[in-house]
Structures are given as structure tokens and as C-alpha cells.
Symmetry: C2
Subunit: 439 residues, 2 copies
């Protein structure tokens, strides 16, 4: 898919369209392959005075055998801003990024770490920490050449639990994640992680797994060691079986909108696998129409499949989830920004965000996390059916000037599913190349 | 300014540019003039069963002598969704907007009212209420013809305090506000309001008042009855005096970055006016450069003027603010979304959001509210200097397909400053025509 896109962008009509629309040419993104090192070169670590995260970050990089000198070019610029107590003290961030912007390698990574504003001791500190969002989002739009930029807010007490997020964001697994604010909450413990096969021994359910993003999720979770239960509607049975066979998983044909689907699903998981550790709600449909022309069936079907069925399945599966269990729901940038012709879809995907945010504190007492990923423009059969100009504009309206691949969504979900991600809950992570659209 | 823009858009080069970029032609927005009725036609009110807001809304409309039947065409579609307990119960919203979308007049208003997800009794309810955001933002992008769409979350206990927000959003004062989520918090009391001159008897400070948005703010606050203290740097003294004279206000020349500025300002306000009720932090500068090329002075100046000086002035003026006092800070969509070449500006404007959010709970105990407005593309001297194509794209990338006017920002600030807005604090209201850019 990636190659097909690159060849289009360099074809006659592709080049012409890009030029007429005044859009930039996309950089080639490096994506993770098993065996790849965490980073491709040394990482530069900076800090404002008085921070509490530089130490843990350096320790993590040392354990991961990442060189922290020898550059430039740097594969990543990492800055601990947790010591910044007021706006004037943001100056060291200027110095760091001013001095090193040009020394960041292609496909480089920018990571700023700070304190969640709500956890700050004074309004001055909260203000300065909140200001970091403006800086990192601007850097994401400015540095180019396939680089990404993120802000990680680490709650007091969670200093030792940043490894999972740092490894994901430094690596090429996060190729299409940029401009995000990630919150790591207070964690009491986090199990030792096998970073090669973090999901070893886990049973993972993936809905809508027969094709596209769902199939990619199933593949990546299996690569990371999970026993995958790939679920889709009976009509997609053949494609589903191919995916399940390919990854040594199990195919499960089930229409999730049936009233008995949740209990059937719970019974199947228990009888065939004895448990379920990871639930990925990926199944979703679109029925695009302006609301004036939309039928009641189109409204109801989208809300029921994309949102209500997730709630019913959670009711049945949450009691089965062990400590360390994971729920990951697929939302959408349309759910964040709204979209013309998608009142039903945007409503359902905004609801998914509400589901995640309202369930997170409840599930925390059970040691279970729940998060959402919100894909932007991802190259799938669905987007391939869009009219050429609409598709091309949608593809380019992000900091990486290209659409993402299903694997990019899958890698993000695998990161959130990993045991090391126990401090991350109630987050909504966009996988959108820092798409311009938002709210 | 509006006319100049309209004539450009209909000139030869303007038409050609619009056509080449495939951008739509902008509708003509109706803007408020003193004496205008609240709405230009009847309002249709709908509700999901079991809501708590339809009654107060109908009462407010009755008091304001707004007809609620006789249409279509409707000047506004208002829906109380506070009774929605789960996603399936969103269906009445589909029925309402499906059935009436085509019956909304030009420059029509869509207002959906609900319960803040965090205040909901169950995750199912919180999920459905959060879903309303996807619906209203999509409607904002879909209905067109100069219409706007907003979601108002009304906390339990604040049912009787929606009048100020409803009046603003129904009227043509909110011509360029769309796609916003407004939160009205629990209020113990709200003074009776003179809706013609809500700021009668109030002293309002406006910084950066010599021109552009600041001058518009000074004019609108004066129109609404305030005695305005118009502040700007000494170098802008002549223009400042013109604005102050025009509105019967006071000009105050002061460089806000001077160390003694806060105490001088406090002393001046007390000695010449005996008090200050409303503080509008509008003064701001840009020094655009990529961070690699930005000087330390450019970083520091923008952060100091746009953010730190607001903090220092607040320190000096908050002790003077009476119960019912108001602070309104000007942020920017760049502070929300980040912007290439604006790391300093976006940092400062994101910080303003942090300031507002961290100070709101502290000031609440004093009966003072603090909010931010975040302008998108506003037609000013600053935007007039942009290159033609950049400017034209920036102008059109919003649901109203045009830039806003300084008065649009000013009207929003006047609404937040009004005594009736006592339930609105810690909000960030974009004045951006639902600009596509976001986070």
C-alpha cells in the first residue's frame, strides 16, 4: 500500500495534483521490522534545572543500550521540562531546540516530558507546563523530514514507569504518531517486560479483524506474542480465516449486534482460551450522508455497531479481565473534530471517547486500563474509494504530508496493550501524522 | 473591512483564486447592531424525554419574547439532550435534526444542551453526553449558509443560569463562533441583567487597545455600558487617544513589561476609577521564525508580553476585583493546534490556556470568573500582511469559509464579561468560524 502510494505521488497526475494544490512532497517514513534496534543513532537528552525525569529517562536509555553521545545527527531530542516552574523558565527549551533543530536526523523524534498541569503545585507552574503543548505541537509542524514530536505528562510518582511510552515514541513503531499529548498516571507497580514479546502468554480479542486496520492489529498483537482471537461477522468468514491462520490465531464468526453476542463471546473466550487479557474494539461501519438525507436505519446502525455494542461487550467481558487487563477502543479524528456527512459516525466515535474517559477511573480499581486510538487518514479500502481530489487533500493535510498505514494504528494499540503501559489509561491517542483537523 | 473582503472575493483575481483552490464562496454573515431583535424569526425547541433544560430554555425564550412557533423557516434549532441516558437514546436528536435541517434559515443557529460528562451518574450517560460533541461539530460543518452550531454542557444546579449563553449564541453577536463546547458550572446566584447595557457601572481595562482586536473590544465594552480604560504602549499613544475619545473612555499609556507596570496600573485604576471590574488581557505580539532561526530575544519577548506580563498584572489586580469580577485573556488557535514558525507564540498562547484553567478554581472562591477566547483567522493589519495565497487559504479553512472581524472577538469577550455569565469560568472559547485546525 505504501509503495503504491509513493508511486502515485510520483506519477504524472499525482505530481500535477500535488503541485496545483501547493502541497509538499511526503518524506519516506521508516517503519519497524522485528530485529530493528530501538533507535538508529544517538539520542540527545536535555533538561531544565530541577527536573525529576531526566534521571529515569537516562536510566531507561542506558538499559536499552541507546547511545547518548557521539552525535550529531541525533536520532532523537529528549527534554525533561518537569523542572520548569514558570513561563520565564521555559527559556532552556528554546535554547535546546534552537541549538539542535538542524542536528536532528531524518525520521527523528522529539519528546518533551513534563508534569500534568492539574498536578502542579502552583498556577505559575501549571501555566508553564500547559505551555509545553504549544511548543511541541509547533515543533511537530515545523521540523519536517519525517520527524515526530510528542509531549508526555508524567504524574508525580510515575517517574519510573515511562519506559513503555519512551520506547514506543523513540522507535519506528510510532512512525505516524505525532503532535500527541500522552498522560502517564500514578502507578503502583508495573511488571517486568519482555520488550521483544511483551504480549507473550496473553489472549487478545480483536473485533473487525478480517481486513484493513483490524487485520493489521491482529498481526501485530500476534507478532508481539499474543494468542489472538480474530472476530468478524459471518459474511467475512473466509477473509477472517485467512488472517487467523496466518498468525496462528483463532477465528470467531459473530455478529456483535445480536442480543446474545456478548454472552456468547464471553462463553467462547472462557471455554476455548480460559481467559481474555486484551480487548480491542475495532469493528466499525460508516453510512455517510448529510443528516437531512440520512435514514433512521443509517443513524441507528452506526451508533449501535460503533458504540452501543462496545458497551454491551464490555459489560460481559470486564468481569473476566484479570489485573493488568486492557481495553482499547478505536475512535476517529472525525469523532474529535466532527465531519460533514458523518453526523452518525462522529457521534459514535465521540461517544467512544466518553466511554473511555468515564470507564477509566472505574476500571483503575481493578488494575485494568482503557484507552482509545483515533486514526486520521489511513490508507484502506475505505479511503481508496474516495474521489481522487478529496483523497489527495485528506492524505496531505498533516505534518507528514501522507496517509498512514493500518500497521501504524496496530503498533499504537500494541503499545497500549503491553504490560509496561500500566500507567496509561483514559488517554485518546491520535494516529494521524498530526493531521491538521481538530477541535 | 467586511465589505473590502467581500469585494475582493468577488473581484477577478479573488474569484480565480477561490476557484483554483476549490474553495467555496463565503456566505454573508449577519452581525449585531444595537436595537436588533434577539432573533430574526421563530425558534424550534426539541427535547429528549426526561431532560431538565427544556423548561428553563422555554422560560428564557418567553421572557425574551422569542416566538417558538409559526415557522419554518426557523431562526434556530434548540435541543435539550440532557435526558439522554445512553447511546440508543440519542435517536431523538437524529429525528429532530433530520426533520428540520432544511427548515433552518440563513445565518441560523443550532444549540444542543446536555450534561457535562464528568457530572453524569453512569458511564452510559457520560458516554452518550460526550457523543453530543461529535454531532454538533458535524452539524457545524454540514449545515452551511452562515449557520453556527454549539454544544452547551449545563452542570446540575445551573439550569436557571443559561440565559447569558443562550442569548449570545442565538444572537448575531456570535456570528463567527461555531463548533464550540461551552460549560456552565454550578452557580449560586446571578444578578439580574440589563441585557441592553449589561456592563453599566463597570470599569473595564483593555490592554493593547490602540488598534485591531483591542480597539474593537474597547468599543463593544463601551457600547455595553462599561467605563473603559484603554491601555497601550506609549508609542501607540495617538491611536490610543483616538479610541478612548471615541468611546468616552480613558487612555492609559504603559509598557506592561516594565517591572513597575503592575503596581502603577493598580494605583492608576484605584486613584482614577476607584475600582476595576473587568480585565481583558489582549496585548500580544508575534515574532515569527522557525525555532532554528529564532533569536533568544524573539523567544523571550513573546513569552514575556503574551504570558508572563498577564501573570504579573493578575497578581496586582486580582486583589482589587470585586465579587462578580471578570478576567478574560486572549489565546489563539495557534496555542491549541501549534503552528509552524510560531513556537514562541504558540507556547505563550497555550500557556494562557493553562493560566485560565489553573486560576479558575482559585478565583471561584472570590466570585470571579476567568476565561480565554481563542481567535482563529481574524481580518486585521497583521493578517493583511500575509502573502496572498497563504492568507486566502487561512481565511477559507473554516465552516464559514471566511475570516472573522475584530468585532467578533470583542462580542465574545463582552458576553463573558457580562454579569449573567457568572456560571462560565475556565472556558476556552474559540472565535474561529469553526476553523478546521485543531488538536
Amino acid at each position: 500500500m505504501s509503495d503504491r502510494y509513493a508511486s502515485f505521488a510520483n506519477s504524472g497526475p499525482g505530481r500535477m495534483l500535488v503541485k496545483r494544490l501547493g502541497l509538499p512532497n511526503p518524506p519516506v517514513l521508516r517503519r519497524f521490522r522485528p530485529g530493528d534496534p530501538l533507535v538508529t543513532g544517538p539520542v540527545l537528552v536535555g533538561a531544565a534545572p530541577g527536573g525529576r525525569l531526566e534521571g529515569p529517562v537516562r536510566k531507561m536509555l542506558t538499559v536499552a543500550e541507546v547511545p547518548m553521545d557521539g552525535g550529531p545527527p541525533w536520532s532523537a531530542l529528549v527534554f525533561d521540562a518537569s523542572g520548569v516552574q514558570d513561563a520565564a523558565a521555559l527559556h532552556p527549551l528554546y535554547e535546546f531546540f534552537h541549538g539542535n533543530a538542524k542536528a536532528l536526523a531524518r525520521n527523528g523524534r522529539v519528546i518533551v516530558l513534563g508534569t500534568p498541569p492539574a498536578a502542579c503545585a502552583s498556577p505559575r507552574e501549571a501555566t508553564a507546563q500547559r505551555a509545553l503543548e504549544g511548543l511541541t505541537r509547533s515543533i511537530g509542524k515545523e521540523f519536517g523530514r519525517g520527524s515526530t514530536a510528542q509531549l508526555i505528562y508524567v504524574a508525580p510518582g510515575a517517574e519510573e514507569f515511562t519506559d513503555s511510552a519512551m520506547r514506543f515514541l523513540l522507535s519506528s513503531r510510532s512512525a505516524y504518531v505525532s503532535g500527541q499529548v500522552i498522560r502517564i498516571g500514578p502507578v503502583t507497580s508495573s511488571p517486568l517486560t519482555d520488550w521483544e514479546h511483551p504480549l507473550e502468554g496473553k489472549v487478545a480479542l480483536v473485533t473487525g479483524a478480517a481486513q484493513g486496520i483490524g487485520a493489521a492489529i491482529a498481526r501485530v498483537l500476534a507478532r508481539d506474542g499474543a494468542r489472538v482471537v480474530a472476530l468478524d461477522v459471518p459474511a467475512a468468514g473466509e477473509a477472517l480465516a485467512r488472517v487467523a491462520n496466518e498468525i496462528g490465531g483463532t477465528a470467531l464468526q459473530l455478529d456483535l449486534t445480536r442480543p446474545d453476542a456478548p454472552s456468547t463471546l464471553a462463553a467462547q473466550l472462557l471455554s476455548r482460551h480460559g481467559k481474555v487479557d486484551v480487548v480491542v474494539h475495532n469493528a466499525g461501519i460508516t453510512r455517510d450522508k448529510t443528516i437531512a438525507k440520512m435514514s433512521a436505519e443509517q443513524w441507528d446502525a452506526v451508533v449501535d455497531v460503533n458504540l452501543s455494542s462496545q458497551e454491551r461487550i464490555n459489560d460481559a467481558l470486564i468481569p473476566l479481565l484479570p489485573e493488568g487487563g486492557r481495553i482499547i477502543a478505536v475512535s476517529s479524528t472525525s469523532g474529535i473534530a466532527g465531519n460533514r456527512g458523518q453526523t452518525n459516525y462522529a457521534t459514535s466515535k465521540a461517544g467512544v471517547i466518553g466511554l473511555v474517559q468515564s470507564m477509566a477511573p472505574i476500571l483503575a480499581s481493578q488494575g485494568v486500563t482503557i484507552n482509545a486510538v483515533a486514526p486520521g487518514f489511513i490508507e484502506t479500502r475505505m479511503t481508496a474509494r474516495m474521489p481522487l481530489a478529496t483523497r489527495e487533500v485528506g492524505r496531505r493535510m498533516n505534518s507528514l504530508s501522507q496517509g498512514g498505514l493500518p500497521v501504524d494504528v496496530a503498533e499504537t494499540i500494541a503499545w497500549l496493550a503491553a504490560p509496561g503501559s500500566s500507567g496509561i489509561t483514559g488517554n485518546v491517542i491520535r494516529v494521524c501524522g498530526q493531521m491538521w483537523l481538530g477541535a
